[in-house]
Every structure is written in C-alpha cells, then in structure tokens.
C-alpha cells in the first residue's frame, strides 16, 4: 500500500449513473488482490472540501501496464466529482488497501458462484478474471434494479455462464439474486465456493438463505471509513460469535472488506 499519483486514461459511462475510470499508475508495482480497494482523494490539494477520501474497489488491474480500473456509481458529492474527471487529469490514490478475496484458496476444478447486486459487481469482475485464469469455473448471478441499470454482463460472460435478474423483470428473470440462486440450483447449478458483493439487504438475505449451507461464501462489505488503514476504528464490525476466540472488533478496512459470510455481524 502507498500513495500514488494516477492519470486518467479513460472515463466512460456504463449506465446513466455508473461510470468506469481507467487510471494509469506508473509507480504501482505492488500486487493487487481482487476485493482490495483504494481510497481516492476527491478535492485537490488546494481545497479542504470534500475532505475525506472515498473507498472504491479495484474493478480490474493490469500489472504489466500499471492500469487500474474503477467502476463507480454516482451517488453523493465525492462520486460526482470523480464522474467529472477527464482523460489527462490526475488523481491521488491510496492503496491497495484491505484484505481481498482468497483467490488462491481455489484451485483448478473448483466451481465458484459469484453473486453481485448492482454496484457490487466491479470487484467480482476482477475476481472472476483471476479465478478463470486459474482454471476455476465461474458461474455468475448479476442482480440489477432494471435493464437500464445493468452493466458488465458481457464482461462476466467471458468467464462462464451468467444469469441476470432484475427487480422489475426488464432483463433476465424477474426477482432478486436469492430467487435466482434457488432457481438456478433447481436447474442443477453446482458450486464449491461463493463470493458476493452488493447492498446490505442483499447480503443479509443471502446470509439467511445460505445459513447452514456449509460451503464457504466470502462477502465484501461496506462501512463508512476515515483512514482506510486500520488506525482510526471508524469501520469496526463485531464478530458474529462474540464468544469465539480472536473475538476483538474487526475492521472493514484492514481485516476486510472481504469476510467469510457469518464471520461478522452485517450492519451499516
């Protein structure tokens, strides 16, 4: 992890409010694990507002050309700032941060199920690419609110079968990722390791659905952060079993953002 200066190579809309930033970071030589994130500075050094960096997952990384990709949903002030960046402009990145997905726990022949809700898809894309390269089979469920908000479908299709589900049924089946897991399972879906990223209610539903399943499922969590480094204790979460050993508070920025489903309490 370090502080890097990146140069925007490309900024492109994927949907009306999701955009992709490709950033050249010549000095980045560290390894970047899927699930890790960067803290992106919003204001320039001449401004104190917006003050805090924004945590954004790495959506892809090309280590030979030192190119980082972020896929971002415009929501508040900070992401609106990022949406206005144009090629040639510089950004200040702090990362890669956190503990990502355990890519190397899976080996050739393992079958991964990737479950993404909305803007949860980007980190799973980088994960899918690495798993696929390692010979792991990838099945992906992508949930969106509606057709107009969908993105990355073709990209995931490179790595294996993809099922799309939308709240309003305008694309794929009508429902949510949980109904789709059920449907696909009944059609013979078989997996050994699960990976999920998406909004909190989705993760909570997933936890309920998969309770007692036995197969490991890793989820990437979000929490409001300050340092992103493990020093300020902003992003604490409680272990789900407070009586377990190693039961101290866990930090989403350092111990996570990826946790085993069931390892920590899911909350805002």
């Amino acid at each position: 992890m370090n502080k890097y200066l990146g140069t925007i190579l490309n900024s492109a809309r994927l949907t009306s409010n999701v955009f992709k930033l490709v950033v050249s970071v010549p000095e980045l030589t560290e390894n970047v694990t899927p699930g890790q994130f960067c803290q992106i500075r919003i204001a320039t050094e001449l401004s104190h507002d917006p003050l805090l960096r924004r945590p954004i997952s790495v959506a892809d990384y090309d280590p030979t050309r030192q190119k980082l990709t972020f896929i971002i949903r415009e929501s508040g002030r900070g992401t609106k700032f990022l949406a206005r960046l144009v090629p040639g402009q510089q950004i200040d990145l702090f990362g890669p941060l956190g503990t990502g997905f355990p890519v190397h726990r899976l080996v050739k022949g393992d079958r991964a199920l990737l479950i993404a809700g909305g803007i949860g898809a980007p980190p799973l894309y980088y994960l899918a690419r690495q798993l696929h390269a390692n010979g792991v089979e990838c099945a992906t469920i992508l949930g969106f609110r509606s057709h107009s908000e969908s993105f990355l479908i073709d990209e995931f299709s490179q790595f294996g079968p993809v099922r799309v589900v939308t709240d309003d049924g305008t694309l794929g089946s009508c429902g949510n990722v949980c109904t789709e897991i059920t449907a696909w399972t009944s059609e013979g879906l078989d997996w050994t390791h699960g990976f999920a990223c998406g909004p909190l209610p989705m993760l909570q539903a997933l936890q309920a659905q998969l309770a007692g399943d036995g197969r490991p499922v890793w989820v990437s969590l979000e929490k409001r952060m300050a340092c992103g480094l493990g020093a300020c204790a902003a992003c604490t979460c409680r272990p789900a079993n407070p009586n377990s050993t190693a039961s101290g508070p866990r930090l989403v920025c350092k111990d996570g953002p990826v946790f085993l489903l069931g390892e920590v309490e899911l909350g805002e």
């Binding site: 992890m1 370090n2 502080k3 500075r41 104190h48 507002d49 917006p50 003050l51 805090l52 960096r53 702090f94 929490k223 409001r224 952060m225 300050a226 340092c227 992103g228 480094l229 493990g230 020093a231 300020c232 204790a233 902003a234 992003c235 604490t236 979460c237 409680r238 101290g248 508070p249 350092k254 909350g267 805002e268």
Partner: protein
C-alpha cells in the same frame, strides 16, 4: 549545527514539534507500514482505558463541510493489552510516546495513569477530559473547572511523567478551565479536542452517526482552535500542544504563533497518510523563507 525544529514542552525536549493527534494514528503500527515513525517528534496514541472498550455502533464517522464527525467512543484494547503489546512495540520504534488516557471515574484515570506512565518510552500522559462521544466521563470532566482540577490533581499524584490535560472546546470560557488545571498542577495543555456536532441523512431522516452526535474535527475547526490557543497562551504559563485542523507546514507555524509549543495532526492523516513526514520535511525550507532560525522563536509570537 543546531536543529531548527527542536522544541521544548516544559521539561520535555522534542526533535520537532510534529506528532499525531490521539485517535487518528491508532498505536502507530499501521502508519509504520508507510514511513519510519522515528521521524516524528512524538507519537500520541489512541485513548487508553482500564478495560477494553468496543466503542459505539457504526456508522461512526460522517463527512461535513471541510471537516468530519467521529463517534468512535474510545474503542481500545484496554490497559493490559496496551502495556503488553502496543507500547512495547512502539518503544522499539525509538520514538517518544505520549499516552492519551480516559475513564469513567477518577479512579479509572488514576489506575491507568499509574501503570501507563511507568512503561518504557512513555514521556508524558495526555489526560482526555474532553471526549464528546461517551456516556460517562469524557467531556463531563472537561466542562467544569472544579472536576477538571480534581482529576488533574489525582492523576498528577500517581503519574511518573508530565501530565498534559486535553481540554474541550465545548465551553463558554476555556481560559477558566485552563487556569484551574494549571493550579491543580498540570504540566501542560493540549487543545483542542473536537466540537460537538450533528450530521443528518435527509432521506432517512436520521442522524448519520449511530451515536446521533459526534466530534467535529478537521480544517473546519481551525479558526476555533487558533482562537482558544491564543486565549489560553496569554492566560496560563503552561506549554501547549496545539491541534485542530492542521494540514500543512504553514498551519503548524500559525498554531505556534498562536502559542503552541508543539502540534498534533489528526484528521489530516486520513486525507494524506504521508502528511506528517511531508510537513517535517517542508518546515526547514519554510522557516528559511520566513527568515526564522529556530522554530521555537515563533511560539506565541503573534503580534496583536
């Protein structure tokens, strides 16, 4: 050649006036991945309490214009773990340690102070009587001159190192509190802690912080911090560690002009994790540009 950045905090000699503000640097281990802590004038650690504290529910932070709110609630592993794991590691980094201590009762503070002041590498205590984010203790000690003085006296009686009292800005008259802790034997003052604030999530009609209110820090509070340091500097003789929104070498010198003998950088570490070594590297050049030989000449040199 003399070190132009050397300062004295009462009896304490520091190689430069830059240290992290308590709570913004943990116990130093994370930032040590980024740079050598030895560069710092000192390290002020997160508040230590007698027993481990989980802190408040999340969200614990909220961004505000030019600042942020936090309601961490003093999360820390407690005195035992701190003395067994955290401080020994930090002492090995060869950097002077200042331990911020907190508690719910005078007895809590005394117990922590007595033990922690005797740990290797600890050069001072910072008595946190100004945390706005806990139900008991915390700020309650810092808003009345009498209780602040009583606590100071009790801690002074057991501490083997100098005691700095960290004051709350949420008061009508900070000078009155400063004078009370001075009379009670404090060796120095730290100011300011955070201003109590509230941020609202309009769409949810709820406070952003689970704790409802939190402490405001960052550049937004800098003018309030400078004002209080200036007021206190003129009224008491104690050395001051100044803090509140510092985010550049220029800010450091402004705080020293107002009366700080050393400064702590808090929130700015989140904005730029390399800020403290950067400031330390920039200071000699800035002093030269200003025609100042020694940074300590600037302490309290504001012309009013």
């Amino acid at each position: 050649m003399n070190n132009p950045l050397a300062v004295k905090l009462g009896s304490i000699q520091l190689k430069n006036p830059i240290m992290p503000a308590s709570g913004c640097f943990g116990f130093g281990q994370e930032f040590a991945q980024l740079y050598d802590l030895k560069q710092l004038g000192a390290v002020v650690v997160k508040a230590v309490t007698l027993r481990p504290i989980w802190g408040n529910p999340t969200p614990r932070v909220a961004e505000t214009p030019g600042g942020m709110l936090n309601a961490i609630g003093l999360q820390n592993p407690g005195l035992d773990v701190v003395c067994r794991e955290k401080l020994p590691w930090l002492a090995e980094q060869d950097v002077p340690i200042i331990v911020n201590i907190a508690g719910e009762t005078v007895a809590d503070y005394v117990a922590v102070a007595e033990t922690v002041s005797r740990q290797t590498g600890v050069i001072a205590l910072e008595l946190n009587i100004s945390c706005p984010n806990v139900q008991k203790g915390g700020m309650a000690f810092g808003t009345s001159p009498e209780t602040a003085a009583e606590l100071t006296r009790a801690v002074k009686a057991v501490s083997s190192v100098p005691v700095f009292v960290k004051l709350s800005p949420n008061v009508t008259d900070i000078v009155e509190i400063a004078q009370a802790v001075e009379a009670a034997g404090a060796d120095g003052l730290s100011l300011i802690n955070t201003l109590l604030g509230l941020a609202i999530d309009l769409r949810k009609r709820r406070p952003i912080l689970a704790n409802v209110t939190g402490g405001l820090s960052g550049p937004a509070i800098k003018p309030v911090a400078l004002r209080m340091i200036h007021q206190v500097y003129r009224a008491v003789a104690l050395p001051i560690i100044g803090m509140g929104g510092i985010s550049s070498a220029e800010d450091v010198l402004e705080f020293m002009l107002a009366g700080a003998s050393a400064v702590a950088v808090g929130t700015a570490n989140f904005v730029d994790p390399l800020i403290m070594p950067r400031i330390i590297n920039q200071l000699p050049g800035l002093l030269a540009e200003l025609g100042v030989n020694s940074i300590s000449e600037l302490i309290g040199a504001l012309e009013v």
